[in-house]
């Protein structure tokens, strides 16, 4: 049996639609997940033991269990618990956001720690209210310091999002599997799908290096 990539030409449109779903899902979950991650990371430095406790339980649970099981749980159990039917996209967004939130909160926690006590001292000496301390001093520095790791987290999420195909969401992976089943050409189809993922992820990994070099050097933080 010889390899024949020409079968894929018929499915360009389907693959493009699948890719669009993957990209859309990833982008939404990056925005929501990073916001959640920052708040959770901040909560883990809270003076209140209860707040810290809740935040750690959440993080440890989502870090310590397979994403696939989290997805199944949200797709099939959450509708039963809430009593409402969730769309595929909504379920996917909830599941991956919760996962991304847990992962990035660890990234933010480390970067928040590195912002350090001296910066806090300066904030207090200048009489900055807590809200200003967070939004104008801590958040921008934490994001800058966390930028390289956050980008890596985002690339991971982009690839992990392929798991939503397992619960029937029509993302790039799902479309690829369908085509592969219909054409009985799994090697060609999955190779091309892998190349599409790579074509997007690879420039992003390069970007990580660039960000590390440029921004961080300029600010020396």
């Amino acid at each position: 049996m010889s390899l024949d990539f020409s079968v894929l030409l018929r499915f360009q449109e389907a693959l493009a639609l699948g890719l669009w779903t993957t990209v859309k899902l990833t982008l939404i979950c990056i925005v929501l997940g990073c916001s959640l991650g920052f708040l959770v990371g901040l909560s883990r430095t809270s003076p209140s033991a209860i707040v810290r406790g809740i935040a750690s339980i959440y993080v440890e649970f989502f870090r310590g269990t397979p994403v696939l099981i989290q997805l199944f749980w949200i797709f099939f159990c959450l509708p039963l618990v809430l009593g409402v039917e969730l769309s595929n996209l909504a379920s996917g967004v909830i599941a991956l956001t919760l996962y991304m939130g847990a992962i990035t909160s660890e990234t933010f926690r480390a970067s928040l720690k590195s912002v350090g006590r001296e910066q806090m001292d300066a904030c207090i000496a200048l009489g900055l209210p807590r809200r200003v301390q967070v939004t104008n001093v801590i958040l921008p520095q934490a994001v800058l310091r966390a930028a390289p790791t956050l980008l890596s987290n985002c690339i991971s999420l982009f690839k992990e999002s392929a798991l939503v195909s397992a619960v029937g969401m029509a993302d790039l992976m799902f479309v690829g599997q369908n085509i592969s089943n219909n054409t009985a050409r799994p090697v060609e189809v999955l190779t091309i799908v892998a190349l599409i993922y790579f074509a997007i992820a690879f420039p992003l990994t390069r970007a990580v290096t660039l960000v590390e070099g440029r921004i961080l050097k300029k600010l020396a933080i």
């Binding site: 207090i124 009489g127 200003v132 921008p140 600010l219």
Partner: protein, 258 residues
């Protein structure tokens, strides 16, 4: 006390410890009059920096009280009680730290206008104008848009002083502000502080630089073991100290200098 000028700062029986075993301040009493420039000297671990940090409201205290301009500022009844800090009073005190503590993600001018705009609601244009004038005065007119990482240590420290002055403090605290600087950069920072002294801005300075202490102080306090050992005019404390411990310290410092 019935002196004509009421004290600006009045520190009473200040106790502060880190954990159960390390007592840093063991009953400090200091009274500071308006217009005074107090230099605090003494061996490392003697509580000088802790004193300044407490006065800035950065540290919890065990017991004692501080009043500022006659108003209650900081107090605590005992080590388990919460340290009460009057944040309105705290806003009239400015502090400069050993390691500059500029905000690295903001330009010089943004560092200066952040607090006036966010704390006092000053218009950005007016704050920027005041900031620019202050930078010119400190020889940093061309650095408004530079980032802290692009400045020398001496420039950073002058920016840090300008940033504190933007809030028109009634008292400035300087905590070893030249200790992290290369020797050739020390003078430019000390010049700026001497400039402020000419305007009679009250200040409390912790320094290891005895030349600077002699030139700027209107009064010198020798602090060791968490208490005030000697307190008087610079000629006395630095020149002919009355206390044995002060004399030992001064001798050793000047011996190292030779």
């Amino acid at each position: 006390m019935t002196s004509a000028s009421a004290p600006l700062v009045s520190i009473r029986s200040l106790h502060k410890s880190y954990g159960p075993h390390i007592q840093v301040l063991k009953g400090l009493d200091i009274e500071m009059k308006p217009g005074e420039r107090v230099v605090v000297i003494g061996p490392s671990g003697g509580g000088k920096s802790t004193l300044l940090r407490v006065m800035m409201g950065l540290e919890k205290i065990d017991s004692g009280s501080i009043t500022f301009g006659g108003k209650p500022y900081i107090s605590s009844a005992n080590a388990d009680a919460k340290t009460a800090i009057n944040t309105d009073v705290r806003r009239s005190i400015g502090m400069v730290f050993q390691h500059y503590t500029l905000f690295p993600h903001l330009s010089v001018i943004q560092n200066l206008v952040l607090a006036p705009c966010k704390v006092r609601g000053e218009k950005k244009a007016s704050a920027t104008q005041r900031a620019q004038a202050l930078l010119e005065r400190f020889g940093l007119g061309g650095k408004a848009n530079a980032f802290p990482a692009q400045l020398s240590g001496g420039q950073k420290q002058r920016v840090a002083i300008a940033r504190a002055l933007m809030l028109d403090p009634k008292l400035m605290l300087f905590d070893e502000v030249t200790s992290a600087l290369d020797p050739e950069l020390v003078a430019e920072v000390e010049q700026v502080i001497l400039q402020l002294a000419e305007q009679n801005l009250p200040m409390m300075i912790v320094t290891h630089d005895m030349w600077f202490a002699k030139n700027i102080a209107s009064r010198v306090i020798f602090c060791a073991g968490g208490v005030v050992v000697e307190d008087g005019p610079p000629e006395q404390v630095l020149g002919s100290p009355r206390e044995e411990r002060t004399r030992d310290f001064i001798d050793r410092v000047f011996h190292i200098k030779q």
